[in-house]
Symmetry: C2
Subunit: 155 residues, 2 copies
């Protein structure tokens, strides 16, 4: 199977991976969540080559994660804004950040902290069950076929 067939699997995780399971795509979403909107901005903040920036932005536009607006026609200037779909990747990025803080930071502690403006504390992002509010842990969750299941492909 080729990498680009991953999204054909009957699994939301595989489908999500097919769209954002790419280092540059994730970096671009991260930058956009941090406020970046311009071509050159993505180029500078991620360090990617312009050809890579061009390609990824196209893919992310196609996927519906970014929208392009021309905010000036003289001179022609574009900005790339996250759609609702793109903004909804925020929890994914926060979960990645949390994992990196815990496992990849070393003794010095995390390089950046995220402050939850609502309560004023550090945002310690944890994933909880939407029904009971308890943290979701490996082992407390089981898998079943859902309404969108159509085949016997359990993966």
């Amino acid at each position: 199977m080729r990498r680009d067939s991953i999204g054909a699997k009957e699994c939301s995780i595989a489908r999500a991976i097919a769209v954002v399971g790419d280092p540059w795509a994730l970096m671009f979403v991260r930058e956009a969540l941090a406020g970046e909107t311009r071509f050159v901005g993505f180029q500078n903040s991620t360090g990617a080559q312009p050809s890579v920036v061009s390609d990824r932005l196209k893919r992310l536009l196609d996927a519906g994660i970014f929208e392009r607006h021309e905010y000036s026609s003289h001179p022609p200037r574009q900005e790339y804004r996250l759609t609702k779909m793109g903004e909804d990747l925020f929890p994914v990025v926060m979960a990645l950040n949390r994992w990196g803080d815990v496992h990849l930071s070393g003794d010095a502690g995390p390089p950046l902290v995220y402050r939850h403006e609502t309560c004023g504390h550090d945002a310690d992002p944890i994933v909880v069950c939407g029904h009971c509010g308890d943290p979701l842990t490996f082992g407390s969750v089981t898998v079943e076929p859902g309404p969108g299941a159509t085949s016997n492909d359990p993966g």
Copy 2:
């Protein structure tokens, strides 16, 4: 900048992306969280070629996400188990699943549902602030330098 220098950035998200920001790596973690442990199992469930399976398992072992155990010496049989570090990717995978359910499932609904055994309901994974318990949303969180910050690289 090359893709493999992403992890050098002073940012937990970038570091996490450098380790698991790869379609196959994420798929392998997903399968492992679902209980897969064997070489051929990863090959079948993900559809990846053996050379890719070999390479990814090596990288994930190096990264400390998997551990290898020989659970039988006659015949020689290996199993690949998630470490604590690997299990801690569970929230990331659940966040991806949630995003895929919401944005990539189409009208039929999600192909798989995850049940929270503790409360018996569907696990609607949401990311909340560890301090106040309110959902973390794009816009309610700001970034500051943390204890591990050493340079003026804000990325």
